[in-house]
Symmetry: C2
Subunit: 203 residues, 2 copies
Amino acid sequence: MAEKDLNTEQKILEAARLVFTQKGFEGARMQEIADKAGINKALLHYYYRSKDKLFEGVFREAFFTMVPQVMDLLKSEMPLFEKIRFFTSNYIEIFINNPFIPGFVLHELSVNPKRIVDLLSNMGIQPALFLDQIQAEIDKGIIKPIDPRNLLTNMLAMCIFPFVARPILQNILFTNDEQAFAQFVEDRKKAVPEFIINAIKNE
Amino acid sequence: MAEKDLNTEQKILEAARLVFTQKGFEGARMQEIADKAGINKALLHYYYRSKDKLFEGVFREAFFTMVPQVMDLLKSEMPLFEKIRFFTSNYIEIFINNPFIPGFVLHELSVNPKRIVDLLSNMGIQPALFLDQIQAEIDKGIIKPIDPRNLLTNMLAMCIFPFVARPILQNILFTNDEQAFAQFVEDRKKAVPEFIINAIKNE
DNA sequence: GTCTATATTGTGATAGAC
DNA sequence: GTCTATCACAATATAGAC
C-alpha cells in the first residue's frame, strides 16, 4: 500500500454503497458511482479493477451488517425473553440506520444464491444454540410449544420486512408520509418484542 | 423448454415471467427470454415493441398476484380470528405456487417506487376496514391493545419473508435441504395464524 | 492520481428476405 | 410469422498524456 488518497477511496466506497444498495448490481452504473464520488470512470478502475471487485466490497460490508453482528447475540447466555427484546430492537435499529441493506442483500441473494454459501461458511452462523434454548424453555413449560425455527423466522421477518416493503407500506398505511413511517418503525423496536413474547409466553 | 402446443405469444409471456421474476428488469436479457421461448430476439419485438412493454405485462400480473387478491379478503365480514387464519394460510399458499413473486415485486418496488403509485391507485387497496375491525376488538377487550398497522405489518411479514429470504433460511436452518424447507413453509400455513392469535388474544 | 480519449464488448431494437 | 443480419448505442474497461 503506497500513498493512496484515502479521501478519494472513501468517497468511491461511499458512492458505490449508495448506488449498489439502491439499484442492485445489474442496475448500478459505474458512471453514476463516479459522478456521486465526484471523479470520473477511469479513476474507479484505477482503485478497483472491475465493477465486480467494487461490488464485492460493498456487498460484503452490507452482508456483514445484516447478518452476523446481531446473530452473535443469539449465542449469548442471556435469558430468552431478554434476548428476544435485545435482538429485535437492536436489529431494527441497525436497519433504521441502513434502510437499504435488507432489500439489497435479499435481492442479490435471490439473484445469485451461490454467493451466500461462500460468505456464510466464512462466518460461523450458528443459530443452534438459540434454537436449543427455545426448546429448553418449551420443555420447562415456560413458553408454548412452537417449532424454534418458526420462532426465529418470525423474529427475522418482523424486523426486516418493513424495510423491504417500505414503499408499499408507507403508501398504504401512511399515505406516503415519511415521518409517520419513521415513527412507526421506531415504535416497532418495542412493539415487535412485545408481540413475540405475547405469542409464546405461557400463562 | 416451452410447450409446442402453446402459441408463440403464450410461450413468450411464460419465458418472460421466468426470466424477469428471477433476474429483475435490469438483470433480464431479451436473448435469454427468446431462448427460453424457443424463438429469436426479433420475434420478441414483433409481439412486444420493447423490453419495457414486455416487462409491464409481467410485473402487472405479478403485482396483482401478490397484492390485491387476498387484500379483498380483509374487507369481508368474517370474524377477526377466522379472517386472520384464512388470510395467512391463503397468502402463504399463493407464494408456495409463485415463489419468486415476492422478491421480484419487492425489488422492483424499491428500485422504482413511483410505479406503485400508479398501480395502487388503479386498484382500491383499502385496509381501513380491517384496521377498524382490529380496533373494535381491542375496544371490546377481546384482543390485547396493539397498533392495528403493526398487526397487519406482522401478518404480511410472516407470510412473505420466508420466500424473500429463502436461500439464506434454507441454508442456515435446513442445511440446504429443499424438501425440508418446502415442508417448513407448508407447516407455516397453520403455525403463523396460531402464532398471531396467541400474540393478541386476551385470556 | 487524475484526467481525456478510445477500445471493446453488451444489448435492445430494426430492416428486409422468405 | 419467423428468420438472418445488422444497427445504434450504452456501459465496462484500458491506453496514455499530464
